[in-house]
Amino acid sequence: MADDAPEPRICINHVAGRYLVYDVNDIASLRTTWHMCGTLFGTLPQAQQQNIFLGLPLELMQEEARLLVDQRAAIIVDDSLAHRDAIKALSETDKADILALKIQEQDKLMLANREESIKRKEAAIENAKASGKWKTKPAKAPEATTSKAEEISLFATMSDTVTEDASGSGGGEELASTGQRTSPDDGNQRQYIIPMASSAIGPHSLRLPKESEHIPNPPDARYQVYKYLQSLGYFMSPGLRFGCQFVAYPGDPLRFHSHFLVKSLQWDEELSVLDLVGGGRLGTGVKKAWMMAGLEEGDAEADEPEGPSVRTFCVEWAGFG
């Protein structure tokens, strides 16, 4: 990547034709400095239907991605290529580092779990003693300790099984095979889950890939209108919910209702009056105005010093008829 960029640019990952942002800090700066909200669409893998609170990644509209690229605020990264290259580029030391990190994490986790289960057991015994039940079976006391040990060993095997199951995928095995370390705790051979998420790779960043050729290319009328309203400070979001191209908010959507349902047109593109009526009626019904907009193409005699500008018309029901 070129060094001339004054500050680190936002990475927009191009995945299957969509423009995604994975970094929370990038998303925050998009919202605060670029007033772009995008659409979060990450769900839990096991609960896709729980889609009220969606998480990363954030999907950007084509127009948003294009504007950021044009303003040199972001680069488009071809996601699959970037991952492939990054994994190839992992050195042996990187692998050792990651592995060491994983071993540490897992040891810590295991010890914590073990302590917790011992504590739980002791607490249960205390409870039993306190409630008097314990006294009725004094002979069972030694048995309790053995069952405690059993539970520990049971827990250990269970956790190992889980790790073995999960590590069956992809690069995990390869990396795990380089780990010759034997655990101080149980001496069993262990396998490790190495999720190949970008974040886990840490400083060996995926943020230094070649810039992708998938520069978004939205239709010109749409892009010009988007850019115009965006430059006026409107928050623009996709218009699906109101049957238009964009919904324009006068401020952050958390604080404001949207004002306009935007339909972009070319200057000479014909629009049926029925569409205007439909838009106007729908917009008024939801306390918004329906807006049609397009880049003005002046006549020959018209002199426009500022060059072509976007012209907008707002339609609302007149309140009678």
Binding site: E269, V277, K288, R311
Partner: protein, 154 residues
């Protein structure tokens, strides 16, 4: 630009809207606009892109920036409603942004500051009342503003 048949169609359309305004919605002070000279303050000559109507609705159509302070005090003596420009169109027409722009370009800019106390904001935007006529002579009315004007209820 427009042929004579088209012009007569548009005039027919206007007569439908005219009678609807007069007899269903009780508009007054109605004036028909055919050429630029018909519009007050206009000095140029030449036909308007489309024939229009200028008139006064019985009630003030909404102001983008209502003067809330004067609303309650002056209720017994309501000032007459502002006159509006009406553009008749037919439901099956297809119009381009260029056409809409040419309609607005021939209208005078309203001097909203004095009347409405706005600071050259939305009150100064040109607007027309679009009268959409359907085949069964139903007429519906939409307000179109030239430029970005906040919706009234928001």
């Amino acid at each position: 630009m427009t042929t004579t048949t088209e012009t007569s169609d548009l005039l027919g359309l206007r007569s439908v809207v005219l009678s609807n305004l007069q007899h269903q919605h009780y508009w007054t002070d109605i004036k028909l606009l055919n050429t630029k000279v018909d519009i007050e303050e206009s000095t140029e000559d030449g036909p308007l892109p489309r024939p229009m109507i200028y008139g006064r609705p019985p009630e003030q159509l909404y102001n983008p920036e209502p003067a809330s302070s004067t609303n309650e005090s002056s209720s017994p003596e309501k000032p007459p409603a502002d006159k509006e420009y009406v553009l008749p169109v037919h439901l099956t027409e297809k119009l381009s942004l260029r056409t809409w722009a040419s309609v607005f370009d021939n209208l005078p800019t309203p001097s909203g500051e004095a009347i409405r106390g706005g600071e050259g904001g939305d009150a100064n935007k040109k607007r027309v009342v679009v009268a959409v006529v359907s085949g069964d002579s139903t007429v519906v009315y939409y307000i179109m503003h030239d430029g970005i004007v906040k919706p009234r209820q928001n």
